[in-house]
Amino acid sequence: MTVVRIIPVGDHARLVEVADARAAVSLALWARERGIPATEIVPGAATVLFDGLDGGIDLPAALDAWSQEEPVPAGRQVVVPVVYDGPDLAAVAALWAVAVDEVVRRHTSVEFTSAFCGFAPGFAYLAGLPSEWAVPRLDQPRARVEPGSVGLAGAWCGVYPTASPGGWQLLGRTEAPLWDLARDEPALLSPGTGVRFEARP
């Protein structure tokens, strides 16, 4: 994998553009494991932000090493049990022109990867849905989405860790603890985690 370009963000940060979300999370995991001296290493949809960089590091040289090395093995694998009774299940079935059962079959067949977090602590953007299955956001976001709601927006899948307003199309809900400060790793779906959904009655 290669770096597209490195954009300066002030004196102590660099935004590194890469091909896509999987490349971004791969670079972020690699940089963390390699101990690249930055306060924050934040993957995005096609970038990695290195914030609070130690002035001594030659980032372009370090990134050259990334492009030549084997990618870091995928992170933890997590299976998330879901009750598929979401309010937008029928709408997604209509968009895909399939039956509701087929939406569930497709959603549980995808091997997702947590690409990056945002919006709320522990809210992960899960990559892996084929682009032809992308769905639009709701025209009118809901004022309240229940915690554990599993939804789609564009080609992203996400699970709401806490109750919040939201415009994702909701397929179902899970009781998996997504954000728990008592754990060493508070986010269940931290970037790099492999995620599969399993249908539960």
């Binding site: 290669t2 770096v3 597209v4 370009r5 490195i6 954009i7 300066p8 963000v9 002030g10 940060a13 660099r14 935004l15 590194v16 972020a28 306060t39 924050e40 290493i41 934040v42 993957p43 995005g44 949809a45 096609a46 970038t47 990695v48 932000l49 914030d51 609070g52 980032l59 372009p60 990134l63 050259d64 990056f116 977090c117 945002g118 919006f119 709320a120 602590p121 522990g122 809210f123 953007y125 400060l181 508070p186 986010a187 931290s190 970037p191």
Partner: protein, 297 residues
């Protein structure tokens, strides 16, 4: 030792230097918005720089100390009284056990800091005692009637210390950001010396600025990417947002500018309705950065 909060005002939070290393999990950094003012308060009472202080927002704060301690009030100007007697702002004040400390409404600025010898000693969350108001990570906001634990005094008060003096008629210096090529060269020139009004919905997440519309060179949405403190974002509404300490960690609107880090403390104290001038720093570096492999110094 505890501080009993009798009246917490509109929004009082506990803040320290902030929470680092968790942005990739969606956790904002938080921390005192006017960091130099918080640092001064800590120095005045003999605390280390990482001690937690109280940050108020426009309205006042009333507390009772349950033990004799040194306190200091810095940041936004307000009346400070101890047992009804006026005491100095930005100086250490010895307070007896059982005294009532009252901070009035801010007359200049927005955020007043109160440090107490030993620091506010609530349990840290992910390495910090700061309250983040975007996702509410950290201690809950300070409410009426709460008793806040205070740590053990370690240093001695420093009576002779001064904060950073800011020139009147403050302006905000903006350098080109990672997506400055989303506005035209003309828009970048227009930004320099342009006057903006601080919007009422400004908060710890961002300072929102109403001003002249900026000519866009590109439209649409950007793939979500990491955001730094002081990023100046241009959302579709055209209302610039200067991201402050509780900013979201990723966002999908272009960051056209970067605030000079020293000016963050000015943002912390700008009041809704106040006018502020932007100063564009050199536009020569605008647009795409150097490609991988070349020097990025």
């Amino acid at each position: 030792m505890t501080l009993e909060v009798l009246d917490a005002g509109t929004l009082t939070t506990i803040q320290d230097l902030g929470r680092f290393g968790h942005a990739h999990l969606g956790v904002p950094r938080a921390g005192a918005l006017d960091a130099p003012a918080a640092a001064l308060a800590n120095r005045l009472v003999g605390n280390g720089r990482a001690a937690a202080v109280l940050e108020t927002t426009l309205s006042g704060l009333t507390l009772r100390t349950h033990q004799a301690r040194t306190i200091a009030v810095t940041g936004a100007t307000c009346e400070v009284t101890v047992d009804g007697r006026a005491v100095a702002h930005s100086e250490p004040v010895s307070v007896r056990a059982g005294a009532t400390v009252e901070l009035g409404r801010a007359s200049i600025g927005v955020r007043t800091y109160l440090a107490v010898g030993g620091g506010i000693a609530v349990p840290p969350v992910l390495g910090s005692r700061s309250t983040d108001t975007l996702a509410w990570v950290g201690p809950p906001r300070v409410r009426d009637g709460v008793r806040l634990p205070v740590g053990t005094c370690e240093g001695s008060p420093a009576p002779l210390d001064v904060g950073v003096r800011r020139p009147a008629g403050a302006h905000l210096r903006i350098a080109p950001g990672p997506r400055s090529d989303w506005i035209s060269d003309q828009a970048w020139r227009d930004l320099d010396h342009a006057e903006f009004t601080v919007a009422a919905d400004s908060n710890r997440v961002g300072l929102r600025l109403h001003g002249p519309p900026l000519d866009r060179a590109r439209t649409g949405e950007l793939a979500s990417e990491g955001i730094v403190l002081g990023a100046v974002q241009l959302p579709p509404s055209g209302q610039l947002v200067v991201f402050l300490h509780d900013h979201p960690v990723t966002g999908g609107y272009p960051v056209i500018g970067l605030l000079e880090p020293d000016d963050l403390a000015i943002c912390a104290q700008l009041r809704p309705g106040e006018r502020v001038e932007l100063r564009g720093q050199s536009s020569s570096g605008r647009g795409a950065g150097p490609s991988a492999g070349s020097s990025t110094a």
